[in-house]
């Protein structure tokens, strides 16, 4: 009679483990959102040289509790439209795929909800389901769909080098300090920027800009519906995206002392994930917003061509030199340098042409006026 972990019958352990994983994921999502809302406000405040929440609880730590209580106790205002049940279904459709994606995040050596051998594909799939929920909620989704493409291309380039879609395998393929970001920094940059846009974080958050949207669909969702969709789903998504980044490029749960104490991996994983979350908040507090057409043109004319070039180069080099990873690394760093230095040059050129065109357009008017 095979014995599973903790002496439980393996046949019971399989579904039980999944239930525990989902329950734990829900717990982590809720608490994570709580923590991240507070962190966001505090960090934005510190960067902007003000105080942030400090009234409720020590250092304002209980502020989010107060906000959540307020949201829960609000009146449930329902739209009188004919498709009222879209209105009810949309928050669930946005939240559930995000919750389902926690199942494949590798917290430590054996601590993962389900070690799917298509783990990364599963995450991509759930990301596309979120788009459906957002379309039903009435949000503009062309930004989400556009930025999925460079995201997937960047992920695929890592898979090309690692050779597996399973999150655990990808983490284990990074031995010691030689994490994948040293080999594929360009993919990391592409993925990070695309993920910022996917999760609607600044500088790509025009659809949810607080200072610019007063009317529209957002005002119809009140109380916990709004809370679920905006706070929980967004911060849950941010956490999942940062978890993907740490797993793929920064070694996941690995860190000093993990071989001896496997549970230490959870600590390292959480620390790395929150480091990236803090970077995202830092970016939000620092950079201004892009206009919607700038957003789209950056994606289609900037990120996607570079992601395609990246994938082509990585694929060719990974096939040509299957044993070493050094050519791929060199090519990737070269591409990154080209990308980073190329943007100012391209932008300066575009500015010059725009100015010339503006001058040509107003010249007849000036001549007519004088």
């Amino acid at each position: 009679m095979p014995v599973g972990p903790f002496g439980i019958d393996p046949v019971i352990w399989a579904p039980l483990r999944l239930v525990i994983a989902v329950g734990l994921a829900l717990f982590l999502v809720l608490n994570g959102a709580l923590l991240q809302i507070y962190l966001e406000r505090k960090i934005q405040a510190i960067i902007q040289d003000r105080l942030g929440p400090y009234h409720v609880g020590p250092f304002g730590l209980l502020q989010t509790f107060a906000d959540a209580l307020k949201l829960i106790s609000k009146e449930d205002v329902r739209a009188q439209a004919t498709d009222g049940w879209f209105f009810v279904a949309a928050p669930a459709l946005v939240f559930c795929p995000m919750l389902a994606s926690w199942v494949v995040l590798p917290f430590a050596q054996d601590i993962v909800g389900a070690n799917l051998n298509i783990g990364l594909l599963y995450l991509t799939t759930l990301g596309s389901m979120t788009v459906l929920g957002i379309v039903i909620a009435g949000w503009a989704s062309n930004q989400l769909i556009s930025y999925e493409i460079p995201q997937i291309l960047a992920l695929v380039s890592v898979v090309l080098v690692v050779g597996s879609l399973s999150m655990i395998d990808i983490t284990r393929s990074q031995a010691g300090p030689f994490v994948n970001v040293l080999i594929l920094p360009f993919s990391f940059v592409i993925y990070f920027i695309a993920a910022l846009a996917e999760t609607n974080r600044t500088p790509f958050d025009l659809p949810e800009a607080e200072s610019e949207l007063v009317a529209g669909w957002l005002t119809e969702y009140s109380g916990m519906r709004w809370g679920t969709m905006l706070a929980l789903s967004e911060y849950g998504n941010v956490t999942v995206v940062c978890a993907i980044v740490t797993t793929l490029w920064f070694g996941g749960w690995q860190g000093p002392g993990v071989e001896a104490i496997p549970l230490l991996g959870v600590l390292w994983f959480t620390l790395k994930v929150y480091a990236f979350i803090l970077v995202m908040m830092w970016i939000r507090a620092t950079l201004p917003r892009l206009r919607i057409d700038q957003l789209m043109s950056f994606c289609w004319k900037g990120l996607i061509p570079m992601a395609l070039v990246n994938i082509a180069v990585v694929a060719v080099l990974a096939l040509a030199f299957p044993t070493t990873k050094i050519p791929v690394a060199i090519a990737s760093w070269v591409l990154l340098v080209i990308f980073v230095t190329g943007i100012p040059i391209v932008q300066r050129q575009r500015l010059r042409t725009l100015r010339a065109r503006a001058r040509a357009a107003t010249a007849p008017a000036v001549r007519a006026a004088s």
Binding site: T82, S128, M129, L132, I136
Partner: protein
Amino acid sequence: MTFDFVEPVVFALLSIGVIAGGVAVVMLSRITAAALLMAFTFLCMAGMFVLLGAETIAAFQVLIYVGAITVLILYGVMFTKFGDRPRALFFQRQTPLAAVFVAAVAIPVAIVALSFTSAPPRPGGGDLIALATSVFTDFAFPFEIASVLLLAAMVGAIVLTKRDDPEEAALRRRP
């Protein structure tokens, strides 16, 4: 206690979901509800693919059908919202003929289908590697044709729906 009954029970639930979703798409007069129930059908279909052991295909099913095609159809529904017909569906000209046709073909197919026997069950374990090897080695040429097809469809869709700029139209009208 063995959990052998899980697979047929899940199959029964999923097939009920698939058929119910299909019937709903055909019979509902509210298009938006029909579109969402079509997405539900696609999800149950993905579940059946997982039950068969084809997880990669299930992931692609959700990615393409639920994630993209449903969104496209919702956009189509939103832009051509002509008002759902209040009249019931059954009083149309073609319905009796359609029913006869469908029954005449469906019943023999069902009888034949039930007579299929399958080989002994294969070990599960996903189909990703076999699929990928097949697509890129044996079926490389159809793969390339499929990508050209996608390009043609993309260009075609853009050309079909592009609004004429008034300046471009004026440019074209100028001799």
